[in-house]
């Protein structure tokens, strides 16, 4: 899962200006007050994630699931935990 998240963030970073690029570490904020990302950046991130998860093993992540679990997506680390939990089921 770490690789999927890493790939998705690298793809997002390609489109972000220098000052907004995300550092790939567990504590980097995603959806929180400390985050520099705008809504359009988050859309891009989750679209990348969805695409890369599908490529990895046909894991389906819908946008509604993301919206309903925003509390669990505050940082890169919590995003990873959320995905591990979801696809373990």
């Amino acid at each position: 899962m770490k690789q999927v998240i890493k790939k998705s963030i690298i793809e997002l970073n390609e489109m972000l200006p220098k000052e907004k690029k995300l550092e790939i570490k567990d504590t980097t904020p995603l959806i929180s007050e400390q985050s520099n990302l705008e809504s359009i950046d988050l859309v891009n991130l989750f679209v990348n994630l969805e695409k890369n998860l599908k490529e990895k093993g046909d894991f389906i992540l819908t946008f509604d699931e993301i919206i309903n679990n925003i509390d669990q997506l505050k940082t890169i680390g919590s995003l990873e935990n959320f995905l591990i939990k979801k696809f373990k089921k």
Binding site: E11, E14, M15, L16, P17, I40, V43, N44, V47, E50, K51, F63
Partner: protein, 565 residues
């Protein structure tokens, strides 16, 4: 390394945030983006007072989807029968809107139309005139080419190619469309940026000029020295032989549009040239190559020699070799040479070459088409030079004739090439686009002459530019440009003498000049220093009408009238 700053206006019918983000991250250019909210295409094109038009830009990109341009086309989406004439009128209107904003940028780029979603369509209905999406999309694109293709300032980008390169499933992202109103994936947008940057590089005259090729397993299959030319895999009923032949055909077509070809191969020269001349399936002939180095020497050394013989900058050179060790050697020794990694499978060579955009030319001049011949003749001259110990005697035997002419309309494309491509014998290295050039020469106080040359071997075409600016009898040299192909034949001396003629005619005692140093133009500085016109470590200099005597070799010179315009 990013050197070039380019301003771009972006007007699009979909959300271009991702496109702009990727453009800003470009490693080749620093893009200064000026954009309007998406889906404001006609509102912006028809409003000459819109904020976007306040500053002149280098590029305007107008990127739309077909249903925005034609309401009639949109009807096809729900299966309606349409009136094709109405589609034509709507495309006409769109083109007239584009025409009205052309003055606000140097060039206008318009990607041709593709659908904003992946459409398999109905096989038989797709090409129906009155209800087929594909039929009407092709028609719209055809009108677009007809209307915009006539104007040099307009460039139509082939977005269908981006779609093919990505593969349709990867080019579109429906989620991005529904969430963000951007139908295209990053991969697709990157293809668009790749094309856009290559086109812009070419317009600036910075595309590659010389392709140096290896022979064994690059132009044909097998080692000719081991198996003999009759056993090479080239053409015939052999899949790899056909692949090598197609690769040669593509290279030949590039050479017909001005790309110079040379050979750098570790081989026995006699055996290799015999293969080129004798093999019946060879597409490239020995005459297609301006020069060659077929020996057992280091390839980097051979490439350096070829570049020096042809007087071409290393940054204009591309080297193809199947052997990764040879490629690595050249990459490390000559980092300015572009050495792409050829695919391991020769069946992929043609596709690889087609995707390589560094040879793309925005315009092809008459000089481009005969460039190979000109350089071949140059090789003959060089070999004659070695026979004569005295330079002036050698120049005499060339029977050189030069003609200095006032700028003419038909010579403008060549002038622009010289301005934007010449690095070494170039005083100011100023780079101008078509509009800037036109504005400059239209100013009454500015003078610009072209220099043509020919000798007993052939015609060089236009090989130099000289320009001055004169206000209140104070004259400044703006351009002193000479193609490296002809430097060292006394033409530069004739040009200095011509500047003095200008002074005498207008009764001016001196001409001011300024040498703008770059990494590549020490050649002009050394020339001026040799004539004692410029002092060591100085940039400003003066050419006095009565001093700075220059040695003039025996050259027949035709000069223009110097009367006031």
């Amino acid at each position: 390394m990013k050197e070039n700053k380019v301003s771009i206006n972006i007007i699009s019918s979909f959300n271009n945030t991702n496109f702009s983000g990727l453009l800003k991250s470009s490693k080749n250019f620093t893009w200064k983006i000026n954009e309007v909210d998406y889906n404001q295409v006609f509102q912006t094109l028809t409003n000459s007072k819109a904020k976007i038009w306040k500053k002149q830009a280098n590029v305007t990109l107008i990127w739309t989807t077909p249903e925005l341009i034609s309401s009639e086309f949109k009807k096809l989406e729900n299966g309606s029968v349409i009136n094709p004439k109405k589609i034509k009128d709507e495309v006409d209107y769109f083109c007239s809107c584009i025409d009205s904003i052309k003055k606000y940028s140097d060039i206008v780029l318009v990607p041709n139309w593709i659908l904003k979603y992946q459409n398999e369509g109905n096989l038989t209905l797709s090409y129906s005139k009155y209800s087929g999406l594909e039929y009407n999309l092709s028609t719209m694109n055809q009108y677009l080419y007809e209307k915009l293709g006539k104007e040099k300032k307009f460039y139509i980008l082939n977005s269908l190619k981006w779609l093919i390169n990505c593969g349709a499933p990867k080019a579109y992202n429906s989620k991005l469309w529904y969430l963000m109103k951007n139908p295209f994936s990053s991969d697709f947008l990157k293809e668009a940026i790749y094309d856009l940057e290559n086109l812009y590089t070419s317009i600036r005259g910075q595309n590659k000029k010389l392709l140096i090729l290896d022979l064994d397993d690059t132009l044909w299959g097998g080692i000719v020295g081991d198996i003999g030319w009759k056993n090479l895999r080239l053409g015939g009923h052999d899949h790899l032989g056909e692949a090598f032949q197609d690769f040669q055909t593509k290279i030949k077509s590039l050479s017909k549009n001005g790309l110079l070809l040379a050979i750098a191969s570790k081989n026995d020269e006699k055996i290799a040239t015999e293969a080129i001349k004798q093999h019946p399936e060879m597409i490239l002939s020995i005459n297609d190559f301006v020069t060659h180095r077929i020996n057992w020497d280091d390839k980097a050394k051979n490439i350096s020699e070829i570049v020096s013989e042809l007087n071409i900058g290393l940054q204009s050179v591309v080297f193809f070799d199947d052997n990764p060790v040879e490629r690595d050697r050249v990459k490390k020794t000559l980092p300015e040479v572009y050495v792409p990694d050829l695919p391991k499978d020769p069946s992929d060579y043609l596709t690889f070459l087609s995707k390589l955009r560094c040879f793309d030319a925005a315009h092809i001049s008459a000089e481009d088409k005969v460039r190979g011949k000109l350089y071949k003749v140059e090789s003959k001259r060089t070999s004659l030079k070695t026979k004569f110990k005295s330079l002036s005697r050698w120049i005499e035997t060339l029977k050189l004739e030069i003609s200095i002419e006032n700028i003419k309309k038909e010579n403008k494309p060549r002038c622009l090439q010289l301005l934007n491509k010449t690095n070494q014998m170039n005083l100011s290295t100023r780079r101008l686009n078509e509009q800037e050039f036109a504005n400059w020469i239209n100013k009454k106080s500015n003078y610009l002459w072209t220099v043509r040359a020919k000798d007993k071997f052939g015609d060089y075409g236009i090989i130099g530019i000289l320009s001055l600016s004169m206000e209140n009898k104070i004259v400044h040299i703006v351009d002193f440009i000479l193609s490296c192909r002809v430097v060292g034949r006394g033409i530069e001396n004739v040009l200095v003498e011509f500047l003095k003629d200008f002074c005498r005619y207008y009764k001016i005692s001196k001409i001011n000049g300024k040498y703008k140093k770059t990494n590549k133009n020490s050649l002009i500085y050394e020339f001026l220093k040799k004539l004692n016109i410029i002092n060591e470590n100085k940039s400003s200099f003066i050419i006095l009408s009565k001093k700075n005597n220059v040695d003039l070799p025996k050259i027949k010179v035709t000069k223009p009238s110097l009367r006031k315009r």
